[in-house]
């Protein structure tokens, strides 16, 4: 067996080609008669006011930050989970302490009111 990631790379290429083929067929078959009204931004029948790329709620950013902490730490937990049954009992407690520190971070964010949707 050769490198499995070559297979994944091939899969990615084929996975992109199939939707591209669908879009190309649609391009060949579909009519194209653009005009200004047809291409205007949809907003339930009324004219769009102002710029469409508006300011967004900062709350999304904060949730992104909280998520980032967890996402990085779970990457460390995967090798621990795979090899847990071969490690001494001590390693289990190490892992648990690691998760507790992680949860302490969540508790801190909670206490600071970062998890409230305002």
């Amino acid at each position: 067996m050769q490198n499995p990631w070559i297979y994944v790379g091939l899969f990615m290429i084929v996975g992109m080609l199939i939707p591209i083929a669908a879009l190309v067929v649609a391009r060949l078959l579909a009519p194209r008669k653009p005009n200004a009204i047809k291409q205007s931004t949809y907003e339930c029948g009324i004219e769009t006011v102002g710029d469409n790329w508006v300011q967004f709620k900062a709350q999304y950013y904060i949730f992104g930050l909280v998520f980032l902490v967890f996402d990085v730490e779970t990457v460390f937990l995967f090798p621990w989970a795979v090899s847990l049954n071969k490690l001494p009992l001590f390693a289990v407690f190490e892992g648990i302490i690691f998760i507790l520190i992680l949860l302490a971070g969540l508790a801190y964010a909670w206490k600071k009111g970062m998890l409230e949707w305002v």
């Binding site: 499995p4 297979y7 091939l10 996975g15 879009l23 649609a26 779970t74």
Partner: protein, 397 residues
């Protein structure tokens, strides 16, 4: 190795021999054979996707006490083909001010992120795309491309509804990824491997992993539904608020790709629930008959969990965004990590003894009971507070 015991490897070995007979070297022949295999697998997924459109429409009709498509062909089974023809000949409109490259790339990425998951689904003992040793990380990573496609669509459409929808989706998807990863970690821990074939092989015929850890199954199911953006977590395309969310400006086949991607994603996650918690292709030794039987068992299980996801979708109303995020960060995430710690400890202490499965099961039950008791006490407290405030308002008046 005969056709009956291992049909695909048999065919691919023969095909590889043919290519080498034409004077190709071995590496090129293998890559070409892989290419043919991937084309077969992806085509199968797309044909299944067409079938899923019909299943979805028929099942939603039954849930809503209607008949559903019943005109084209027997039971309306050719309805999706009519849908495809319609989508293909619809005009493709790009709104003014849209970022054209990202706008066109988003549906392609959306479909690709789903198809990538099919590379690691094991259909039968010797029928799978590739057996990665980091398959579970790959599952999470490929799912993130879906999130990326959503924000690409929302940002490039130059539409306020699309932007709002994509922000909601990203907040939801990244939030629910945390408990989902924790549930996957519980399974990884019990199986001792991240490979999909290894996880299926680690489950005994009569005790698949949902018996070990029913709570992990529940957490995975809830976060998978949120990850798919299906009701009750369909805030990203809430019709009554932001019309269609991130794909509001998409027409014709580009919309079709988003729609087909969503359906196939649901089915694929049904497959992953079957794989992680219900023994994948294993069914009381029946899978040993032939890989084809194994594949049928796997697809039947995947279809069942796809149906469960649909059942939830058409039964439960949409929840509010603050409730959605609070439910994840204040309830599901702590619970998932507590479950992970308890499972790690119990699994390590009882490893190799006959008490492993009962121990894990009972510890899960205790955890569920404690959670319910905690929720009850919290609910009582909140209710008492609300009643007190109502009474004080009444007293003032």
């Amino acid at each position: 190795m005969t056709f009956w015991t291992d049909p695909f490897n048999f065919l691919f070995a023969w095909l590889s021999g043919v290519f080498q007979g034409w004077g190709m070297n071995e590496v090129l022949a293998t890559v070409l054979v892989w290419f043919v295999g991937i084309l077969l697998l992806v085509t199968f997924a797309m044909v299944l996707d067409i079938f899923l459109v019909w299943v979805e429409r028929k099942v939603v009709a039954r849930f809503q006490d209607r008949l559903g498509p019943n005109r084209i062909g027997p039971f309306g089974i050719f309805q999706p083909f009519a849908d495809i023809v319609k989508l293909l000949i619809k005009e493709d409109i790009t709104p003014i001010g849209a970022d054209v490259i990202l706008f066109n790339l988003a549906p392609i990425f959306s479909m690709m992120s789903v198809l990538l998951l099919w590379a690691i689904l094991p259909f039968a003992p010797k029928m799978y795309g590739v057996d990665l040793n980091v398959a579970m990380l790959y599952l999470v990573a490929a799912g993130s491309i879906g999130t990326l496609s959503v924000i690409m669509a929302g940002w490039s459409s130059n539409n306020k509804y699309a932007l709002m929808g994509s922000f909601r989706t990203v907040a939801q998807m990244i939030s629910y990824e945390v408990p989902m990863v924790a549930a996957i970690l519980v399974v990884t821990l019990m199986a001792g491997t991240m490979g999909t074939v290894g996880i299926v092989e680690a489950q005994q015929p009569f005790v698949p992993f949902w018996v070990y850890s029913p709570l992990a199954l529940l957490i995975f199911l809830i976060s998978a539904i949120a990850e798919l953006g299906r009701s009750p977590f369909d805030l990203n395309e809430a019709e009554s608020e932001i019309v269609a969310g991130f794909h509001i400006e998409y027409t014709g086949m580009k919309f079709g790709l988003f729609y087909a991607g969503e359906l196939l994603h649901s089915f694929t996650f049904g497959g992953f629930i079957a794989l992680l918690f219900f023994g994948g292709y294993r069914f009381f030794g029946l899978e040993n008959l032939s890989p084809i039987v194994g594949a049928i068992i796997f697809l039947a299980k995947a279809m069942f969990f796809y149906w469960v996801i649909m059942w939830v979708k058409y039964t439960v109303p949409r929840i509010r965004i603050d409730h959605m995020l609070a439910f994840n960060w204040k309830f599901l995430t702590p619970l998932a990590f507590i479950l992970l710690m308890v499972t790690a400890l119990v699994n390590r202490l009882l490893l190799g003894s006959a008490w492993l499965v009962p121990g894990l099961f009972v510890s899960n039950l205790i955890l569920i009971w404690l959670t319910i008791e905690y929720l009850k006490s919290q609910a009582r407290k909140t209710r008492a507070q609300e009643e007190a405030s109502v009474q004080s308002v009444a007293a003032e008046a």
